[in-house]
Amino acid sequence: MASARHTLRTASTIAGLEWQLEWRQGHQLAAVGLFAIASVYVAFQASDHNTTAAGWTAMLWLVHLFSGFTAIGRLFDRERTEVRRYLQWTAEPLGLMLGKLFHAILTTTALTAVVLGAFVLFLGWPQGMDDPGKPGLLVLGAWMGGLSMTTTLVFVSAVASQIRAGGSALAAVLGLPLLLPQLILATRLTRGALADQPWTMLVEYPLFLGALGAGTSAIACILFPYIWRA
């Protein structure tokens, strides 16, 4: 039991550290927000108030996907080399992974709020819709989709950070195909929620997204110790 408590303590320390790092290097957080809002603005200019539900969904997830990449892709190599080496020797891998995951989940939640907010602010709802059919499900879908993308990205960036040169480019190459299933589920959910499809047809998607996210984080936690001190 003591070791479980130790792991949790490590996790909370790491999460706190990440949070501090995020505030100290405020430009990184700001960069992600800027990227997201600028992308939405480009989408707004391109759409000319005539977006169909399918187009709206496509743009939402493209923006969400690449903002997620920007935010999470460098999760494992943004500390300075010395700090990283120190962590490598002192921190327990599982606790470190849990801490990073927790931080990634917080970041994604904030990011989802920014992206969705910017979409509603600039683009409004799709053509012919004053409101989405199921706003609660839309928000839940954007959040769950973001989370299950994030957990996969955490694993991929952990793998890619082990490579000396070109790690972040590799994270993109490895990550995109892995994210396809989540994106397929998420886009269907969003489109369904906008088109007011019945609950019974849509309720499976958040469940699948949640299961995928939980599964990938579990695998990442199990496998991470093997690469961390390799």
Binding site: L170, L174, L180, E204, F208, A220, L223, Y226, I227, A230
Partner: protein, 347 residues
């Protein structure tokens, strides 16, 4: 002794595949009805031509006494008169009454040699009023006969002759699963022991499996073009297959990016374990659930159980064993190459 067995199973896999090719393309298809023209009938007398595919169901120009065609509306049978038979079509005269229990007519062809052929919703009678078929128009249900077709493949609507692809497409995916499973076990062992031998096994398995995955995609795409009319459709199983192949390509990219870094074995093993778990989820778990929630999305639900009858089974099982053994052979070759290269480099 060991050398003899070594060549026996390799030659055996090739012989099995030869048998599969000969039997797979040489076996005739059981006859089945494809179309009815015209598909719209008026009230009164009309002629219909039912066209069939597969092996001939009757000799030409000879209407045997126990050859019957009836149309079914709802649960009642409408009689017809057979005018002419060719090996792949039958022309009939039908007198349609003004009242029918259903506007859609199913066609049944009772043949002495080929058993009963069926075409659902063959014709429609738009003008018919709802009601029973008058007595004079009704047919008695003819006797069902067991078909005497010999060794032949079953007829499936929409799939027709392309059923032979079952012997290529499905065993290729089976072989891919098998060899990727082997790679998964090797990667687990690699993580446990940190022995380069296991890493070489995993790499050989992924490379071989990827070849079979690509072949599976290609044969599947061909099949989709024929049965669904498009090279690619958005279906959970297809999405899963594509993502799986992309994932394993990522494995090779990861290895290439690592170069001769000495941590490559461990990192690749971690990635491979993850990839195989995703393969199981994407190809075996996820499609099953989404399909059960959207039934009949792609026209041939019967194929989920492969509708294997005995003739198809007699070729399908050898195909599975043959492709599996060929795949394993290719894997051992790749593995021996890896070992030899390692041996040369470490000298």
């Amino acid at each position: 002794m060991k050398g003899a067995w070594n060549w026996t199973w390799k030659a055996g896999s090739i012989l099995l595949l030869g048998y599969v090719i000969l039997r797979g393309f040489g076996t005739p298809l059981q006859p089945g009805l494809v179309t009815a023209t015209p598909s719209q009938l008026g009230i009164g007398t009309d002629t219909i031509i039912l066209a069939a595919a597969g092996q001939p169901f009757a000799a030409a120009d000879d209407v045997p006494s126990d050859f019957h065609v009836v149309l079914r509306a709802g649960d009642q049978l409408l009689k017809t008169e057979t005018v002419e038979i060719t090996p792949h079509s039958v022309r009939l005269a039908v007198n349609t009454p003004a009242t029918l229990p259903s506007r859609a007519l199913d066609a049944f062809v009772f043949t002495p040699a080929a058993g009963t052929l069926f075409l659902g919703n063959a014709c429609f009678v738009e003008e018919a009023a709802k009601g029973d078929i008058p007595k004079d128009f009704r047919a008695k249900a003819p006797e069902e006969r067991a078909p005497k077709l010999g060794f032949s493949f079953p007829y499936q609507p929409n799939i027709i002759e392309s059923i032979r692809n079952l012997l290529w497409h499905v065993p290729m995916w089976f072989a891919m699963f098998f060899i990727m499973g082997l790679g998964f076990v090797a990667s687990l062992a690699q993580l446990r022991t940190d022995n380069i031998n296991w890493d070489m096994r995993a790499e050989a398995a992924v490379k071989t499996g990827l070849v079979f995955g690509l072949l599976g995609l290609a044969t599947g795409s061909l099949w989709a073009r024929w049965t669904w009319g498009a090279w690619w459709v958005s279906d959970p199983q297809l999405n899963g297959a594509l993502v799986t192949v992309l994932l394993y390509s990522g494995y090779l990219i990861l290895r290439a990016a690592m170069g001769d870094d000495d941590r490559v074995g461990r990192l690749a093993a971690v990635y491979n374990v993850f990839a195989f778990i995703m393969l199981v989820v994407l190809l075996m778990v996820l499609p099953r659930y989404t399909e059960s929630l959207h039934p009949g999305k792609d026209g041939n639900p019967g194929f989920n159980s492969y509708d294997l009858d005995n003739s198809l089974r007699a070729v399908f099982y050898p195909a599975v064993i043959g492709w599996g053994a060929l795949c394993y052979w290719m894997y051992t070759l790749r593995l021996r190459m890896n070992r030899h290269a390692y041996h040369l480099l470490s000298r």
